[in-house]
Amino acid sequence: MTDVPPLPKKILVVEDDQYIRELYIDIFEEEGFVVDHAVDGDEAYQKMHEGGYDLVLLDIMLPKMDGLKILEKLKNETPPVLPNKAVVVLSNLGQETAVASATSLGARGYMIKSDYTPDQVINKIKGFLSE
């Protein structure tokens, strides 16, 4: 057995706001992660359904299908061959009901985007990736 360098972690950024999406893609790629993205609920659902992400950062308010609906649909399905390892909600919607729903649908964490600077976001997701 030879030492194989660890594969870079694969992150899916689900974000409909272009500026914020590109911000996260930029800072995550700079950290060496492989970053994929989805701009609406349908695309996010398709990609999450296929699986294989180490971490999905999921927005709640999305065009076509909201984040909670995606989680609900996926929960009732057979998991993909390569399940997504963790889903963390990254939203600016702070309603307690949304937080409670996301948690009960299996989200590992719930982050309010506006509370974090880019370096804090990176620290948080590194924490989730190492869990």
């Binding site: 706001d17 500026y19 308010m61 939203s91 919607l93 702070g94 985007k113 506006s114 370096d119």
Partner: protein, 492 residues
């Protein structure tokens, strides 16, 4: 014969007429008189019984909480049935329309036939309150019982004499007694009773019985009216309440969505400003760095304001639920101290924490109390000039932990103290501070959160010298088991 027979009079032993054989004439007269007396007593007793029965019925009607229409109809029917009247009509004062309006009438075929001759539905056969020709109106005015054998007296100006006579023929009502229904100085209306005999044929007892009943009838109707009013008011209130609940829900949804929409561009401004400040887009000229720093700080202020407004929206809609856990308050304060250490050091402000190691735990929502501490220390930092001090002191006192944040800042004017914990209670001159301004919501939120935990918050200040904010939180074991008292030095 039983010796204890209570109605033994002379040699007669019962109320039946005894055989009048070998008795003297005097005896016969005596017996006849006795019998008459007994008969009369029995008759009066039966009326007494009926009175009691009707009073009981009235009390039943009262407890059934029905509408005024139902109650008056039941009263009319009960009196007619139990006291053998031909008919009864109850009319009530309608102050708005300034009329006396019939609300209930005996629904016998004769009465319904008679009503047809009036040519109006019952409730429309109203008499103006100022029509003194009508005997019912006079009964109310004089607060006096009236009697008549002319139906026109109670129906004028609705019909003429001819029609009134026809109605009298059809209904077989010979006499009408009109009782005003009055409570104190309030005239409710009248009860008109139709007799198929002459009024003189009514016994004294019957008349007395009736006048006894009238007061109770008035009370019963008044009660029904009150209940109806309460029910109307209740249903109006319910409708208003439902509207308010809907509005409240819409307001909360609006606040949630609006804050989401506000936070999204603010996240972008904050994040990109941060990237530029941290030279991710290349090195910055000092002036540019200063300006971008202001963009960043202003955005942070906006985000903070939106968060506070969301907090208030949640507090005021009663949606805040504490996620309590047992926590050592000293550790939480240390975290906050670390957060502020760099900033205070820059201004040579001495920031210290004084709390015993054996501080009992509190059962609190960590995030909420963190917010309270951050806010109070943040305020102290904002208002304390260079080389000042900020001290956090924690002590267990009886059943609470008392935390004081003491600064050597500007202090608060006496006249401003009352405004401190109110919404948007930012004080005069506090807009321009070292780091910017507060929204005026922070202390209001602190107070709400501390009180939700069962504690209280107070402020002391001497203008120009500094301020002390103190809040208490119940010790955990006093929430779980109030019977347990913490012994001195027990919790090492």
């Amino acid at each position: 014969m039983p010796a204890q027979d209570p109605v033994r009079i002379g040699s007669a032993q019962s109320s039946k007429f005894p055989p009048l054989t070998d008795k003297t004439n005097d005896d016969e007269v005596l017996i006849a008189k006795a019998s008459q007396a007994i008969y009369k007593q029995n008759f009066e007793l039966s009326i007494r019984n009926k009175t009691l029965l009707i009073l009981r019925r009235l009390s039943d009607i009262t407890t059934q909480a029905k509408s005024v229409a139902e109650v008056t109809q039941l009263i009319a029917d009960t009196i007619v049935r139990e006291l053998n009247f031909a008919a009864a009509i109850i009319t009530l004062v309608d102050k708005k329309a300034n009329v006396l309006r019939p609300v209930a009438m005996t629904k016998s075929p004769q009465m319904l036939e008679g009503l047809k001759l009036v040519g109006k539905p019952l409730e429309e056969a109203v008499i103006p309150l100022d029509d003194a020709n009508n005997l019912t109106i006079r009964a109310i005015r004089d607060v006096e019982q009236k009697v008549t054998d002319n139906i026109l007296d109670i129906l004028t100006p609705l019909v003429n004499q001819e029609t009134a006579d026809s109605i009298k023929r059809i209904t077989k009502v010979k006499t009408i007694i009109i009782y005003p229904l009055v409570l104190g100085d309030r005239a409710l209306g009248v009860l008109s009773l139709g007799l198929s005999k002459n009024v003189d044929d009514l016994s004294r007892m019957e008349k007395e019985t009736l006048s006894e009943l009238i007061g109770m009838v008035a009370i019963t109707i008044d009660h029904a009216k009150l209940l109806e009013n309460i029910q109307k008011t209740n249903s109006k209130l319910q409708v208003a309440n439902q509207k308010l609940e809907l509005l409240d829900k819409l307001k909360n949804e609006f606040v949630s969505l609006a804050s989401h929409e506000l936070r999204t561009p603010m996240t972008a401004i904050k994040s990109y400003a941060w990237l530029v400040l941290n030279n991710k887009a290349g090195p910055l000229e000092p002036k540019a760095k200063e300006y971008i720093n202001r963009v960043y700080n202003s955005t942070e202020r906006l985000i903070h304001l939106v968060n506070e407004m969301l907090d208030i929206s949640r507090i005021e809609s009663g949606k805040v639920q504490l996620k309590r856990e047992n926590i050592n308050l000293k550790n939480l304060a240390s975290d906050i101290l670390n957060e502020f250490q760099a900033k205070t050091a820059e201004l040579h402000i001495n920031l210290s924490l004084d709390a015993p190691d054996n501080l009992p735990e509190v059962s609190i929502d960590r995030e909420k109390i963190r917010q309270v501490l951050e806010n109070l220390v943040g305020n102290a930092y904002k208002f304390t000039p260079q080389d000042g001090t900020i001290r956090i002191i924690m002590r267990a006192k009886d059943t609470v932990i008392e935390t004081s944040i003491i600064d050597t800042g500007h202090g608060i004017r006496a006249e401003d103290m009352a405004k401190l914990f109110t919404k948007f209670g930012r004080l005069e001159g506090s807009y321009v501070t070292i780091t910017g301004s507060g929204s005026g919501l922070g202390l209001y939120i602190c107070k709400q959160y501390v009180e939700l935990h069962g504690g209280n918050i107070t402020a002391l200040s001497e203008y120009g010298k500094g301020s002390t904010f103190t809040f208490t939180l119940p010790i955990a074991q006093h929430i779980v088991s109030p019977a347990l008292q913490p012994g001195e030095g027990q919790l090492h």
